[in-house]
């Protein structure tokens, strides 16, 4: 392996994509080439250095990030509360309206009496007075078990 190829392999090794057999070949070259060995050492040290640098910067920015996340969370919670409130108000209104409707229906809905068949309890009727301008009126009484009838005879029609 020449030094040019070795430099390319050193980069691949740092990226973690160097095959094992090529790595063994590279190790063989590095043991006999101080220049390439120095390059390998410098490249291998770059990764940890960058990670350390990022860690330091993140630690510096952590308080500002925490504050930002706190504001974001507060904003999200506020939005959720605002959505919940109208829903509960609407439910409150609907419940009240439903109860009012149920009470109204219970009290004022025409009962079955309006549609049920006639079942009179009494046929006892007193006719205090009767008159007609249109014809003759007949009072029909066929006994206590039958209803009293007032029959209007319009000018001899019926």
């Amino acid at each position: 392996m020449d030094c040019r190829t070795a430099h390319a392999r050193i980069g691949e090794k740092a990226d973690g994509i160097l095959p094992r057999d090529a790595g063994e070949e590279l190790s063989g070259h590095l043991s006999g080439c101080p220049s390439c060995a120095a390059e390998d050492a410098a490249t291998s040290a770059t990764g940890p250095l960058l990670r350390a640098l990022v860690g330091i910067r993140a630690a510096e920015k952590a308080p500002a990030l925490d504050a930002m996340w706190t504001r974001v969370r507060a904003g999200i919670e506020e939005g959720r509360e605002a959505q919940r409130r109208p829903r509960w108000i609407a439910r409150w209104v609907w419940l009240s309206a439903a109860v009012a409707l149920a009470v109204f229906t219970f009290l004022f809905y025409p009962t079955g009496a309006d549609r049920s068949p006639f079942h009179p309890r009494s046929f006892d009727v007193a006719v205090e007075d009767v008159e007609s301008e249109a014809g003759t009126v007949a009072l029909v009484d066929k006994g206590e078990d039958l209803p009293r009838v007032i029959w209007i005879i319009e000018d001899g029609k019926t």
Binding site: P117, F118, P120, V127, E128, E131, L146, P147, V149, E154
Partner: protein
């Protein structure tokens, strides 16, 4: 915790509303019922067209058949009015006719009704009836189509 509070809230106003509304309405109904007469009118078309008998006539079916010679009895309309003593209630009848019922003062279980039936400007009947509550009287004779109208007048 907040969620539990929210779920507990809606029942409170609804229940409060119900509790407030019910006594007011329930207190109003009996006092009104005691001073009013429920006047009901059933408009029956009696004819010799067919042999139908309207089941809505209930126990009156057999009585109508035994009293009249018509073969068909059909309920055209049925109306009810709650009227205070002295308050006139108008009931529209087929063919421009109108019935006006006015409860009069009565004692105990009795109901007195002033009844006026008119056909346009013509007075067909003016009468004053005394009935037991739940009692029925029939008024018949006005011609209608191929038969006559029979009015079932009851007071409760």
């Amino acid at each position: 915790m907040a969620r539990r509070n929210l779920t507990a809230r809606p029942g409170v106003p609804a229940l409060s509303f119900l509790l407030l509304l019910l006594p007011v309405l329930l207190a109003a109904v009996p006092s009104e019922a005691a001073n009013t007469v429920s006047v009901e009118i059933g408009v029956v078309y009696a004819s010799n067209e067919g042999t139908s008998m309207d089941p809505a006539l209930g126990t009156l079916r057999g009585k109508l058949q035994s009293m009249f010679n018509y073969t068909s009895y059909r309920m055209l309309d049925r109306k009810r009015r709650s009227l205070a003593v002295g308050e006139a209630g108008e009931f529209e009848l087929p063919g421009r006719r109108m019935m006006r019922a006015t409860p009069l003062s009565a004692e105990g279980n009795k109901v007195r009704l002033s009844i006026q039936i008119s056909d346009g400007p013509k007075n067909l009947l003016t009468t004053t009836l005394g009935l037991n509550r739940g009692g029925v009287v029939l008024v018949g004779g006005p011609s209608h189509q191929a038969g006559v109208l029979i009015l079932i007048i009851s007071a409760e």
